[in-house]
Symmetry: C2
Subunit: 138 residues, 2 copies
């Protein structure tokens, strides 16, 4: 068996880029800069299912994504979360938050119906993040 992205995550996102260990996706919601990191390891639902080196690499990538979001979008605060109560495949939300976003200061999940990204939004968010994250992303 090999890694496959859960169909619900595929339906809710667009693909931004990929490292050796992770997929980077952007949530199809223009209300927040909302990205999702998915470790490319099959049958993984918890952080402790990854070995310690994978944990370090995947978490390091999530931290880089958060730093990129704060630089690119000027977010006040980064929210980083692995929840997975509905889609159990391990995936980490990395979201830029500002006091004028519609869920502030509460969490984003379930707060507002999503407002889809336009094709131009997807292209812009993808380009900005790839540029900031550098050559390891393809």
């Amino acid at each position: 068996m090999s890694f496959e992205l859960h169909p619900q995550l595929a339906a809710d996102t667009h693909r931004v880029s990929e490292t050796d260990d992770c997929l980077l996706l952007v949530m199809n919601d223009r209300q927040y800069p909302w990205f999702i990191v998915v470790p490319k390891v099959e049958a993984t639902t918890e952080w402790h299912h990854l070995d310690p080196d994978q944990q370090t690499r995947v978490h390091g990538f999530c931290v880089s994504v958060g730093q990129a979001i704060q630089s690119v979008f000027g977010s006040r605060k980064i929210n980083t979360a692995a929840l997975g109560n509905i889609v159990s495949q391990l995936h980490i939300h990395v979201i830029g938050r500002t006091p004028d976003d519609p869920a502030w200061p509460g969490p984003v999940w379930g707060a507002q119906p999503p407002l889809p990204l336009s094709d131009a939004d997807v292209e812009t968010r993808t380009l900005m993040m790839k540029q900031y994250l550098g050559a390891d992303n393809h």
Copy 2:
């Protein structure tokens, strides 16, 4: 200046244990096994404010706490999240979730008013977690 726990975090929790890098607290809410890891680094609000070695150690401790919660409390899913929109001092929630908890499958923040732990609950949760996490915790 030195590290000081934010007064709101102190008010909402009890102290469980401490490592060289982190405080482990238990949220004063008996509806979930809900723990909070606070890196003992002053003026830190984002993961990327820690240096890479600190990130690895602190995240590794959060993963151990999640694994301990799943073993001790039999949780179906671990939720791990650094939010900090209200209390910006970096703190990581590590929460055991089950389908019969009052917020399932939504996130816990703001879902239900907290139901305080009894003194006996605090003692039991502290002892169980310290026993599982081992000798590095004091």
